[in-house]
Amino acid sequence: MAPLRRWGPVATLVVLAVLPWGLARHQLSLLTDLLIFSLFALSLDLIMGYTGMVSFGHAAYFGLGAYGSALLLIHFEVPIPIALLGGALVAGLVAWPVGYISTRATGIYFAMLTLAFAQLLYTLAYKWRALTGGSDGIAGVPKTALWWGGPSLVEPRAFYFLILVSFLVAFVLCRALVRSPFGRALQAIRENERKFATLGQDPRRLKVIVFVIAAALAGLAGALSAPFRGFASPEAMFWLLSGQALMMVIIGGIGTLVGPAIGAMVFVLVQEVLSSYTEHWMLFTGAIFVLMVIFLPGGIVGAARRRFAA
């Protein structure tokens, strides 16, 4: 385990940096998609794995980020980083009142509340045609430059590196966060919220804060997806995506930082392979997921740790 711990990250980084030159266009786009989902799943694990708040409406913030950045890029042609910040900001701002209300409840109730709010936002995106284009969504989102007059990001490899860097920044940020006193407090809440409260702390304030942070990171993932795919649509806010993010976290390993990324990778690749054989791939992903929940509660990372520890 020790050499894997030391050299694993370095090797992964090298591979991720070199891969774009060895991949076909379609494969590179798959890899880019994968990184976006990794970031999205990572943001969910921050609240789900580290704080014990299972959100069933995380896609809403992914979608808000996508719409935010799509609107900024189309109407103002701002540089990409501004659009990313804008998208993350929109998601975080909307998440604040939602988090404030939802954290009144815990456990299953919290999950249901976040789902209900997400469906509300989804309906809003669907109905508010003037702003969001309704069911058609917003098409033709441009990949603008890195800064005003700066290098263009139209080239697939350039955009891939933008997303890779965004992911790494978010990853390092989350790592610092879960190791900080704030992160320790979150894990204390996860273990025993009542005890945490009796120590004179206010768990709800921290929960709202981490909910907003996670939503902003999900918004960042969404904000990256809009220019990458060239569109933002209500599908990005649908409950199915929220559920898929939960699946990625569980498959990879809940409460770990690399787990969600591994889960996203497995999920995207399995979907890619299955969908080339059958249009009913959801049937098999669902079944695989059910089996994993029963037999592999710690996900892939949990299983690997057990194996290496033994």
Binding site: G107, I108, A111, L115, Q119, L120, I250, M282, L283, P297
Partner: protein, 288 residues
Amino acid sequence: MSLALVVDLILNAIAQSALLFLVAVGLSLVFGVLRVMNFAHGVFYMLGAYLGFTVVARSGSFWLSLVLAPVATGLLGGLLERTTLRYIYRRPPIYQLLLTFGLALVLEELVRVFWGPSALPVDPPAGLEGAVTILGAVYPRYRLFLVVLGMVTGVALWLFLQRTRAGLVIRAAAQNDEMAACLGTDVARVRTGVFAAACALAAVGGVAAAPMTTAYLGMGIGVIVDAFVVVVIGGLGSIVGSMAGSLIVGTAQTWGGFYFSEAAMAIMYLVMGLVLIFRPWGLFGEEE
């Protein structure tokens, strides 16, 4: 606003509430006894509608479908509980929610495989087509039937749980399953039974809804989100709460739909938000 319109809206609200109740009460019961939030519950509602369509198409009898489809759905539900959920009751509750999410994906896709992607229309049974005039309002007979169906089911369920021995055992298992097991109750069997019964109830709702809404893919997720709101408002594990929640949500949907059309959903969530601020465990739920 004319009296006829008011009557029309009130009846619509009650019919809508009746359908919601059939789904929400099962969701609530399963949570009460199994402590599982069943994400697949809406899919059983959809399955009921599709099975109902097939039975009507083969036999021509709506009433037969109202019996056969729920029985088949209940059996499937019981089987799934035995083969999957049973093994993870000791885990944190979120694993059960996720497991049922996986089941929902599988079942939804299976419905697509067997019945295809297009919506399937079902005719209302003979004798319930057409409309009657009530206080000046011309009202579809079939919706009146939904009102009666919802009320009869609600009262029957309440009597069953409060007045029979089996109901007593179920309530005991819901209140303290370890104690109930010590006193000789086969809790595993109670769980399977309750899960199967809840699935069958959802299927009754699906069969009953199909003549109004057709049977279509995605009807499960629509209804499950509404049913979640109902049980959050009413309180999990309470039949009276499910009734009250259904009436509130059904009314908010129909009246909100009339006055604001687009904002109907928002009103439903507004009500839920208010309830949660003052009673986070729901109107009739018990504080945990």
